[in-house]
């Protein structure tokens, strides 16, 4: 691969998703990481940068404004996403932003508008579309395997991420479990069952520990429900099912695990960390989404999740938070206007 064909990338962020995206970028021959900046950089990220010879700094604006960059990867806390995307757009670079794009639909739209106005391309990390079972399930539904989809149920659980990174536990920064975890399934449900008209939701918010339940009515007449938790003592798992007049499709990460390790009780447990699930793919979903994003930046096709899809997922998350707050069923068209 000729050097001039490589995209020169800067990474903004120093936590677990910065580490994930950095690892992907380092394994992609068309990418060259030229720098990483964050107010706070974890030892894992610092170590990865050091071994790869990537300069690390605290000056995020300096990195975004520096010469010789083609694109930036934003893996900062959620409440910083919109301002960073706007800053990158203003500098004329393409931008990959970790999900969710924003906490509010208005902000998500202005991030997308800023990129459009600047003529730069925006990709958002809706990685569930790249998890093989979720992609397969959606393909089977689209192929008519169960007839018109009638109901879907999505479940997404983990331990409290706020025990490792405290900004997660502040719902005004992370959106809480409804936004941070829910936006994955909301995006997948829009992809699989189509647009939503009505939203109901409830949440228990104890900071680091949260549980939420969401109910959607779709334009097609289908209904879907989402169960979300940051209080699962067994750690990360997800499950999904879609049923229709022709049958049932289901997937559960717990019965789909191709490797498990159970340690004896007298062995010291690993320190808490924010869990990044790896499916059974040889090529991992986080790398696959980055490959698609970089191809998009280089002039290729829009990735599986478009900027408009990212806005739509934020709209559902905002609607769900509002419905939970009001303990009511709300019309999606009333949100974000």
């Amino acid at each position: 691969m000729a050097r001039e064909e490589r995209l020169r990338i800067g990474v903004v962020g120093g936590g677990v998703m910065a580490r994930t995206h950095l690892a992907s970028l380092l394994s992609i021959p068309t990418a060259e990481v030229v720098g990483l900046a964050a107010p706070e950089v974890s030892p894992e990220v610092a170590g990865l940068c050091q071994s790869a010879g990537i300069p690390v700094g605290a000056d995020v604006r300096g990195l975004i404004g520096s010469d010789g960059l083609d694109a930036l990867v934003i893996a900062a806390p959620t409440d910083a996403h919109v301002a960073l995307v706007q800053l990158v757009a203003a500098s004329g670079r393409h931008v990959f932003c970790e999900k969710p794009l924003a906490l509010k639909i208005r902000d998500a739209r202005s991030a997308v508008d800023a990129c459009a106005a600047a003529g730069v391309r925006l990709a958002v990390g809706h990685v569930v579309r790249y998890f093989p079972a979720y992609a397969k399930l959606r393909d089977l539904v689209a192929a008519g395997e169960i007839g018109p989809p009638a109901m879907a149920k999505c479940r997404r659980m983990s331990g409290p991420p706020g025990e490792a990174r405290e900004w997660y536990a502040d719902s005004s920064r992370s959106g809480g479990v409804l936004t941070d975890m829910g936006v994955h399934d909301f995006d997948w449900l829009l992809w699989t069952l189509g647009p939503v008209t009505r939203v109901s939701a409830s949440v228990v918010d104890r900071g680091a520990g949260q549980v939420a339940m969401v109910l959607f009515a779709h334009e097609s007449g289908a209904i879907s429900a989402v169960e979300l938790s940051w209080m699962d003592p067994t750690g990360f798992w997800t499950a999904v099912e879609v049923s229709g007049p022709g049958g049932l499709l289901s997937h559960d990460s717990r019965t789909s695990a191709t490797f498990r390790l159970e340690r004896a009780p007298n062995v010291a447990p690993a320190p808490p960390s924010v869990e990044v699930p790896l499916g059974a793919a040889l090529s991992d979903p986080y790398r696959d989404e980055m490959v698609d994003a970089l191809a998009f930046f280089a002039g290729g096709a829009v990735p599986r999740s478009s900027p408009q899809d990212a806005v739509a997922a934020v709209a559902l998350a905002e609607a769900a938070r509002r419905a939970a707050e009001m303990q009511a069923t709300i019309e999606l068209k009333d949100v974000g206007s």
Partner: protein, 326 residues
Amino acid sequence: MTARLPVAMVGAGHIHSPGYLRWLAQSPDVDLVGVYDQDPRRAAELAEASGTKVLGSLEEATSLARAAVIGPEPTRQLALAEAVAQSGGALLIEKPLGVNAAESKALVALAEKVPISVTLPVRYHPGAVQLARAVHEQQLGEVVAIWATNRNRFPGGWFGDPALAGGGCLLDHVVHVADLIGWIWQTTWSSVRAEAGTLHHVDLAVEDSAIVLAQTTNDMMVSVDPSMSRPDDMAGALDLTMRVWGERGVATIDIFAARVDAFDTSGRHRQHLVGADMDGAMLSDWVRSVRGAGPPPVPCADAFRASALAFAAQQAVATHQTVRLS
């Protein structure tokens, strides 16, 4: 950019042949020159399905290709491999390594002359790689026992014909688990006991049911169930599982676990496997090794070690005695 590797499929009777052909046909690193099989109709069907052509003779295959995938019925494998090796190209041959210990040795000897890799793809599966990593990082402590299955439904066709299959489920399905154990622990077998019978498909002329209980040279006990004991219409009939007991923990692999389950309105259950393409990863590694003139990624010596467990188990079944090795 190096030129594409011209590859022929020579002998296409194996259950994996269609999948391998599809992969070879779409690989940007491979120029699939065609399929030769002693059954021209079978060759024609496979060639059409993967958009390649039928080769009329062995000579045509070896003159066009620099490397060959050899996948006939097991009893035809050694002769075919020896014939193709005359031309000096690299070979990828099907497991098991021969249908008896003498054939296995002959193939190891042949590998002294031409580079031969063997189709043992499970070591390319991420679950197997994660197990290998956990073991090498000492996360389990000393491993004392492995309980393994590699079961299936009866696949039909030549699998029931001893003249073509060369044996039953012991020959066919012990080697995958055996290779993982040999590969991860670099160990072999010190003693082997086994029981077997034709118990699920009672008209078959080969054993369809068996359990092997072996001891490794590094002192692990290993049980392997290679039986064709799953019902014909069972979803997920094919499995490959290992439960690995260490002093500090237990690791489990379930190679065909990643899936979407589908149920129709009559309750019929099917599984759509997702995720890892271990066959593709293995083929890709083999093509890379041949183009770079590197060593075979799954050498005959490894397949010899794995196949030795199957041969010893057959002997234990025949003699009702413990077979002691090395």
